[in-house]
């Protein structure tokens, strides 16, 4: 085998020799043609032709050898490159794997995750950038926590501070109403408006507070053995003042044998008031509202059913989300905060229960909540 450089040199040499051989043969052929060279000139022509054949064979052999050499060189080069590359990959792989792991931990919420910065300058830069990002996230998260806590405190304080003046406004308006026989009809109406708005403010404050607590995971219930029939009856009787004003029938159907449930009476009252108020406010004059309580399996089911306009399917799936309210056309006269059902759902769940709704546009809605007969203690998922 010969080198490529030498091959080129040698090839040049061969071509010179072939060219010279032609010159010799041509000169010999001229002599033959002129008849001056005799036998010697003829022999020379044949010899030069054979000589060139040999030279050409030799060249093709050399060409083949050189081609093999070039191919082998290429293979060797590629192998070397591959080896070099796999070495490079190995040095890249470790830091990249570390980064992938760290990103996983970061995504899982461990914001204190950092990677070791080192190795190739590229991976070191990547690692440093990752650490920078993680630090930034950590700072932002702690700022967000602080903001959340400040927000909770603010809601709590605002709601607390607003209650005192509200107590006075409502209390003195009620005092006036105690002497309503001395008031003119216009004055009575005025005081009623003040009281209505006080009630609305109180509801708003309570709802906001519940929601802030629910967000902070601090909404809780104090469960005690509770007799539901008298509690439901009391709520229904209180609500009748409102439903009768709209000529709506508020019908009660309570199983008197209803067993005691583990519940916080005030919260059950709150849920019921919310459901009945919704039925009342969203239903037209003369509608029927039915409150039922019965045992189903190992649960007590309380339902509030109306034959009002019903809830379109598109709204139904979001009905328990906050600030979701019924049709705008109706909300003109509906006094709710849009928080009632979201809070009711949280409260039912804190009791270890469930709440659901069925509704058909044109024929009415039915909200039902169920509480476990054995209390939430046996249902670990209710511990939240």
């Amino acid at each position: 085998m010969i080198g490529v450089g030498r091959f080129i040199e040698k090839r040049q040499d061969f071509e010179d020799r072939i060219a010279r051989s032609y010159q010799v043969e041509m000169a010999a052929r001229v002599k033959v043609a002129q008849g001056v060279g005799g036998i010697a000139a003829r022999q020379l022509v044949g010899r030069e032709a054979r000589h060139r054949e040999e030279l050409r064979d030799q060249i093709s052999d050399d060409t083949r050898d050189t081609a093999i050499l070039v191919a082998a060189g290429l293979i060797a080069g590629l192998t070397g490159a591959l080896l070099l590359f796999s070495g490079l990959i190995a040095t890249l792989r470790r830091p990249l794997e570390d980064l992938v792991d760290a990103a996983g931990r970061l995504a899982a919420g461990d914001l204190s995750t950092r990677v070791e910065v080192g190795g190739l300058s590229e991976t070191a830069t990547l690692g440093a950038a990752f650490n920078e990002m993680a630090s930034q996230l950590e700072i932002e998260a702690s700022q967000r926590e602080l903001l959340d806590r400040l927000k909770d405190e603010f809601v709590l304080t605002a709601s607390h501070e607003l209650r005192s003046p509200l107590t006075s406004v409502q209390g003195f308006a009620e005092l006036l109403m105690l002497e309503r026989e001395t008031l003119t009809p216009k004055q009575v109406e005025t005081v009623e408006i003040i009281l209505d708005n006080c009630n609305h403010l109180v509801r708003l404050l309570n709802d906001l507070l519940d929601l802030a607590r629910s967000d902070a995971g601090r909404l809780s219930v104090r469960l005690r053995p509770t007799e539901l029939p008298p509690l439901i009856d009391e709520v229904v009787r209180t609500m009748r003042a409102q439903t009768e004003g709209s000529h709506q029938a508020l019908i009660e159907e309570i199983d008197p044998q209803l067993p005691t449930v583990e519940a916080e009476a005030d919260r059950i009252r709150q849920i019921l008031v919310n459901l009945i108020t919704n039925a009342h406010e969203y239903s037209p004059e003369g509608a029927n509202i039915e409150v039922k309580a019965r045992v189903i399996g190992d649960e007590v089911e309380v339902s509030v059913t109306d034959d009002g306009p019903g809830i379109p399917e598109t709204q139904l799936e979001h009905i328990f989300e906050r600030f979701v309210r019924g049709d705008a056309g109706l909300t003109q006269r509906v006094g709710g905060t849009g928080l009632g059902l979201a809070i009711s759902k949280s409260l039912v769940e804190l009791h270890g229960g469930t709440i659901e709704v069925d509704s058909t546009v044109g024929s009415g809605s039915s909200f039902r909540f169920r509480l476990p007969l054995d209390g939430p203690a046996l249902r670990p998922e209710a511990a939240a």
């Binding site: 709590l156 709601s159 607390h160 501070e161 209650r163 005192s164 509200l166 107590t167 006075s168 409502q170 209390g171 003195f172 009620e174 005092l175 105690l178 006080c198 109180v202 309570n206 507070l209 519940d210 809780s220 104090r222 005030d266």
Partner: protein, 121 residues
């Protein structure tokens, strides 16, 4: 006639509560903080205490705690601007006979007071 000692740091609320309770037939004494409560209970000998949970100087809770520790057994109702007993004001280890939130539901408050004082209303 049953006697009630009311404590609140707001003059307006004191006036409101005094008016409502007097209309319902109670004799009312007032205090503007917990310190005054601990001083006035022995002098006025009330049948019931109606204490605001949060007051400057000494809260209704602190005053009641001191009184209970001294063996004072007159029933006490805590009035709180918090929505729930669990919200900050009412410790579970303290003997409280009633818990009322602001804004005050006077129908409920008056019926509780009637029961606790054994008043004929």
């Amino acid at each position: 006639m049953k006697r009630v000692l009311i404590a609140d740091d707001s003059e307006t609320i004191l006036l409101l509560m005094r008016t409502r309770l007097e209309l319902a037939g109670y004799t009312v004494d007032t205090a503007s903080d917990g310190q005054e409560v601990t001083e006035r209970v022995y002098e006025t000998a009330p049948d019931l205490l109606l204490l605001d949970a949060m007051m400057p100087r000494k809260s209704g809770i602190e005053a009641l705690r001191e009184l209970r520790a001294a063996g004072y057994e007159t029933p006490a109702v805590i009035v709180s601007a918090h929505q729930n007993p669990g919200d900050a004001d009412a410790p579970t280890d303290l003997e409280i006979d009633g818990f009322i939130t602001k804004p005050i539901d006077f129908d409920r408050l008056l019926s509780e007071i009637a029961v606790l004082t054994g008043a004929e209303v």
